[in-house]
């Protein structure tokens, strides 16, 4: 299908909204828009970070997911207790593929699930005693842990347990940080508030641990990677580039990160912020309290990487600036090869994205490097500032959808007919059954890394592998495929 005009996009939105009752229609219409890249501020065209409507299929997560799953979970040498019933932690265990090095169960604990496994009696009589006991047990069984965080699930807030008191008491007893996090799932409208709460907990309970302690030898080139969760090794692929240009990476937040790295972050010269949505809070705090500037960067696709490396280098002296140029020059031939190989196979293909955090806007550059075009983008839990940054990246009159519902997403896809969809696991099989190539873009569909130059080579291969897979032409049983043209999209009719 050719480009959609603004009128067509708006008509499509109206048509999709038609099935809703009056009130729901009014509410949802604010979250859907045709992009107008001339706007400075997104709030003129799209509303975000609002409560989902009851009755629609939202794709969002909860505050606990934002704190335990995203921000705290990857800190590998701490034990994160999913405090409450067993399910929240168990069903999300190890799902995000935050890679790390270490011996799981001995000095690192990333893929394990720790829970206080609440039963009826804990709800009735309170769970503080259980938490107290649990912390002792952890200390006995896993003595090499460097700290413990208590990630509250819904019931904790409902029954009014005092996890702060228990944490303080136990932190003294075991002489390690014990961090209570009030990230009960019901707080906020999505996982986004969970990120914020987790950032605040880091600020209040760990960040200041080494204030006034100057024993850590610093260099003028110290930086921290903030908001990279090392999915499929992303942070490693980013870190090598930064080190190659002459910087010293003191901390990784929080993929493959440790608590000691976090405590050392206030000593760095510059914070490099990849996922703005989940960690801008702590970056703002460090800027105010420690005077550390922060800069957003984007390590998807060679064009954006080069731009970002130069932007980062501009904070440092000529040595680093030259270093950045050297890195760019070294990888350019490699990237040219990747593009020469895959671009002809992907040129002109159209992509629709619906993910979280930073990806709907950050990956646009990588797709463009491959000659592809993003024709629709939306976030699960973005705020206005995310859309401000997105409208400039997207083409005019392309579709924007905030907190899209299952129904809307399907209808949009049927009308726009993209060549590829990037979204989550819950959407994957619906669209694959509709015969549309799909990549799971939360954890890179069991692949990765996608960050950095090395990541781009993998990204390009994966997109080609998915899009040009011969299976898409064989979705209809041969005895039913009488008409050739029905082959491709017949399944959805």
């Amino acid at each position: 299908m050719a480009e959609m005009t603004r009128e067509e996009t708006e008509a499509l939105i109206q048509e999709v909204l038609e099935v809703y009752p009056e009130k729901a229609k009014k509410d949802r219409s604010k979250h859907l828009a045709a992009n107008d890249s001339s706007l400075e501020k997104s709030n003129k065209c799209i509303t975000s970070n609002k409560k989902s409507l009851p009755g629609v299929m939202t794709i969002r997560g909860c505050a606990y997911a934002g704190s335990k799953g995203v921000v705290w979970g990857p800190i590998k040498d701490m034990i994160h207790i999913s405090h409450g019933p067993v399910g929240c932690g168990q069903y999300s265990r190890a799902g995000r593929r935050n890679y790390y090095v270490g011996t799981t169960g001995v000095n690192t604990f990333g893929t394990m699930n720790f829970t206080s496994d609440f039963q009826e009696k804990d709800i009735v009589f309170g769970g503080d005693k259980k938490l107290d006991k649990l912390l002792d047990e952890i200390e006995t069984l896993f003595p090499l842990n460097k700290g413990i965080s208590v990630q509250s699930e819904c019931p904790i807030g409902l029954i009014g347990d005092d996890i702060e008191a228990v944490s303080k008491k136990k932190a003294k007893a075991i002489e390690k940080p014990v961090v209570p996090v009030r990230c009960e799932g019901f707080r906020g409208v999505s996982q986004s508030l969970g990120h914020h709460i987790a950032n605040d907990a880091i600020r209040d309970w760990t960040l200041g641990a080494r204030d006034g302690d100057d024993s850590f030898a610093t260099t003028p080139y110290d930086v921290a990677i903030i908001g990279d969760y090392n999915i499929g090794g992303d942070a490693w692929a980013s870190r090598t580039l930064l080190e190659e240009m002459g910087l010293r990476v003191v901390a990784q937040w929080s993929g493959d990160g440790t608590i000691s790295e976090m405590e050392l972050t206030p000593k760095v010269k510059l914070n490099l912020l990849h996922c703005y949505r989940s960690m801008n809070y702590i970056s703002r705090h460090m800027e105010e309290k420690y005077g550390i500037p922060w800069v957003e960067y984007n390590f998807f696709g060679p064009s954006k990487i080069a731009e970002s490396l130069r932007k980062i280098a501009s904070f440092f002296d000529d040595k680093i600036k030259e270093g950045a140029e050297k890195v760019i020059a070294r990888y350019q031939p490699l990237m040219d090869n990747v593009i020469a190989k895959y671009r002809p196979r992907l040129e002109g293909k159209r992509v629709m994205l619906y993910v979280g955090g930073l990806r709907p806007r950050h990956t646009i550059g990588a797709y463009e490097d491959l000659g592809m075009e993003v024709v629709g983008a939306g976030y699960e839990f973005a705020h206005n500032d995310d859309y401000d940054r997105t409208i400039k990246e997207m083409g005019d009159a392309t579709l924007l959808y905030d907190d899209v519902t299952g129904y809307e997403f399907e209808e949009f896809v049927k009308a726009v007919k993209p060549d590829l969809i990037g979204s989550g696991i819950k959407e994957k099989y619906i669209f694959q059954k509709m015969g549309i190539p799909f990549r799971q873009m939360h954890s890179w569909d069991y692949s990765g890394p996608y960050h950095g130059y090395d990541g781009f080579a993998i990204f390009a291969r994966d997109m080609d592998m998915t899009l040009n897979n011969p299976c898409w032409g064989k979705l209809k049983a041969p005895w039913k495929a009488s008409d050739e043209s029905e082959l491709q999209l017949g399944a959805q009719a």
Binding site: N49, S192, H196, Y281, R284, E288, H383, N384, D385
Partner: protein, 70 residues
């Protein structure tokens, strides 16, 4: 009286950030911007107005201050 964090953004404008509401806007005008008197009525790019009790000196940014919504 929300507390807001003021910081200079990449374009040199002052951004106005209300942590409680996750609201970020750039400031379009500040009533007093002298070194010995800073604050007063603040207008944001989206048109909303706030009042900051004038300070005796220009603050070092970033900083967190309490303002009143007008």
């Amino acid at each position: 009286m929300p507390s807001v964090m003021l910081r200079r953004n990449e374009d040199g404008q002052i951004s106005f950030y209300v942590a409680k509401k996750d609201l970020e806007e750039t400031i379009s005008t500040i009533e007093f911007e002298a070194d010995d008197k800073w604050g007063g009525e603040i207008e944001l790019a989206d048109g909303s107005k706030y009042y900051l009790e004038p300070l005796d000196e220009a603050p070092k940014l970033p900083t967190t201050l309490r303002v009143k919504r007008l």
